[in-house]
Amino acid sequence: MTKKFIALMLTAVLLFTLLSGCGYEYSADLDADLRGTYTKELSGTVLNVYNWGEYISDGSDDSIDVNREFEKLTGIHVNYTTFESNESMYSQLKSGGVSYDIVIPSDYMIERMIREDMLEKIDVGKLKNYDLIYDKYKNLFYDKNNEYSVPYSVGMVGVIYNSALIGEPEHSWKALWDEKYRDMSLNFSNPRDAFMTAQMILGQDLNSTNKKDWDAAAKLLKEGKDVLQSYVMDEIYGKMETGEAAIGPYYAGDYYTMLDNNEDLGFYYPEEGTNIFVDAVCIPKCVRNYEAAMLYIDFLLDPPIALANAEYICYASPNKSVVENEEYSFYQDEILYPGDEYEIEKAQYYHDIDPEIRKYYENLWIDLKLY
């Protein structure tokens, strides 16, 4: 009996390992399209990469499996792990029990990590493909001299609505407050993003250090709470797809995921402005394979790889070779790329906010939830 049971267990394990082995085929003609040169000089070394979950092209639907291609070209073994929020990534690095060569945090977190001396400098002059990054994503507030980060992916928040249920709303954040859509509208269920919608209507700076601004935004949110169906995060997918809710804010790229399941959905950018974020590649201080990390960053910037990632992630790309490629599925797409005028003049970044102000608006948020 013992033996039979153990045999069964082992067979099950074996089956799973067999499954994991097959599947991906390397694309044969990729080498010719690559801009950079990748040698086997560092073959046999290990590169530890820490990225958001589902944030890299993995070979599904005949796409490129970025990590495996890199391994094939350079012989460097990619040890790829994921995180779910900037904060959990930050605390893992702070704990000191792990060592990574590549991390991909968002703008405000990079600002904090630079201030706390957690990032290693990157000499962008040594990256062959760095010139592909648009100038508008260089010298940003979090890394003014481009010494620590290389942009990876860009996103903006907009409003998703169901045209079959409510037609075309006025292109404003005020739609979420509109009595017409009572019990059909949604808003973010985290303080920073929810406050953003009100701050935009009030024409405030999203990173205001004036407590009165936050009070005013909280007051506006309170007024709108009654009209709102609920505060949501991930649940918005289900609510919008099934028509349980008719209007709500979310990231532009994720609108396309919902559109796949409900073709009545539309999208607009509010005229008041919105939040924009950049996720960028960095090398943390605990790096052990610096040369391989630099090679990996260059690889991520390389046109075919950047294209594959942009297609997979479905957010905007900061890479010229992708945006200007006619074969790109989102070529001249007005939702992912609404144009410089809106992006530069209307969209605002979140900065790493003063802890005292954060505490203040978090308390206002709790107050609002109880209201």
Binding site: M1, F5, G53, D58, D65, R68, E84, V98, E241, T242
Partner: protein, 267 residues
């Protein structure tokens, strides 16, 4: 009354298995929605093969589950034998309580304290990175141990204490007596312990989250998918894992009843 008890059982089973049934159902959906069923397809099952992050997570989970359950079973059985052999009742009670603490302790406390210990120890011996396969394995063995001990001790109490001595009288060496007489009489307890450890280790999230470092197990990988929404290939994978365990348990039960029948007919 009989009708009520039947309804009660039916309700219980529905509540226990409805979530799993919904998950299995939507794993066959051709669309990515969890709310609208488009049409039947096996695309997500194909998709699993390409999700390298998820497959790695699965491999890690299974490796840790099999190894930690096996090691915990061996250590736990030895510990249980030792504990029952303790003469003084006070010491016995004390040791049992101490070994039970990891089980009573909140996962988050166990997880954080283990992480601190590993990082501290790693710094002490000068490692640049202390968390990884070994630490997550040690952590899993730690929380599995009490379950094995707890399932073996009652079996040891049930067996006749003189059995071991009788075997010695009849010419067994102490080692032979242990493996040929004691172990077979407590083997159901050992199995229960093993299976409990295996399943606990399989679905542990909190402790793994803090101790795994680069060696992310499947629950951690799935948790990290929340920036984008969770894709249905997770349902497909969970369905496979659920069915595998389900089939294993059924087979295990069949094997067990058969061997019991054989033993009964021999008697």
């Amino acid at each position: 009354m009989k009708v009520f008890s039947k309804i009660y059982v039916a309700l219980m089973i529905t509540f226990l298995y409805a979530p799993v049934a919904v998950m299995v159902f939507f794993s066959f959906n051709s669309g990515s929605s969890v709310w609208i069923f488009d049409k039947f397809s096996l695309d997500w099952y194909k998709g699993i093969l390409f999700d390298t992050a998820m497959m790695d997570g699965l491999k890690h989970t299974l490796t840790v589950a099999v190894l930690s359950a096996s090691i915990a079973t061996v250590l736990g059985t030895a510990a249980a034998v030792g504990i029952t052999a303790l003469r003084k009742k006070v010491t016995r009670g004390f040791v049992t309580t101490v070994t039970n603490i990891p089980m009573m302790n909140a996962d988050i406390v166990t997880g954080i304290s283990l992480m601190l210990l590993f990082v501290f120890f790693g710094k002490l011996i000068g490692l640049s990175e202390s968390l990884g396969f070994i630490t997550v394995l040690v952590a899993h063995i730690t929380f599995n141990l009490p379950y094995v001990i707890l399932s073996v001790i009652p079996k040891l109490r049930q067996t006749d204490k003189n059995l071991h001595e009788a075997a010695l009288d009849l010419g067994c060496t102490p080692v032979q007596a242990f493996f040929k007489v004691v172990i077979p009489s407590i083997q159901t307890g050992i199995f229960t312990g093993f299976i409990m450890s295996f399943t606990l280790s399989l679905d542990d999230f909190v402790i793994s989250y803090f101790t795994c470092g680069h060696y992310q197990t499947l629950p951690v990988v799935i948790y990290n998918m929340t920036k984008k929404t969770v894709k249905p290939d997770v349902y497909a994978l969970s369905t496979i894992v659920f069915l595998t365990i389900f089939v294993l348990l059924i087979l295990y039960n069949i094997v067990q009843t058969k061997s019991e029948q054989r033993r009964n007919s021999r008697d």
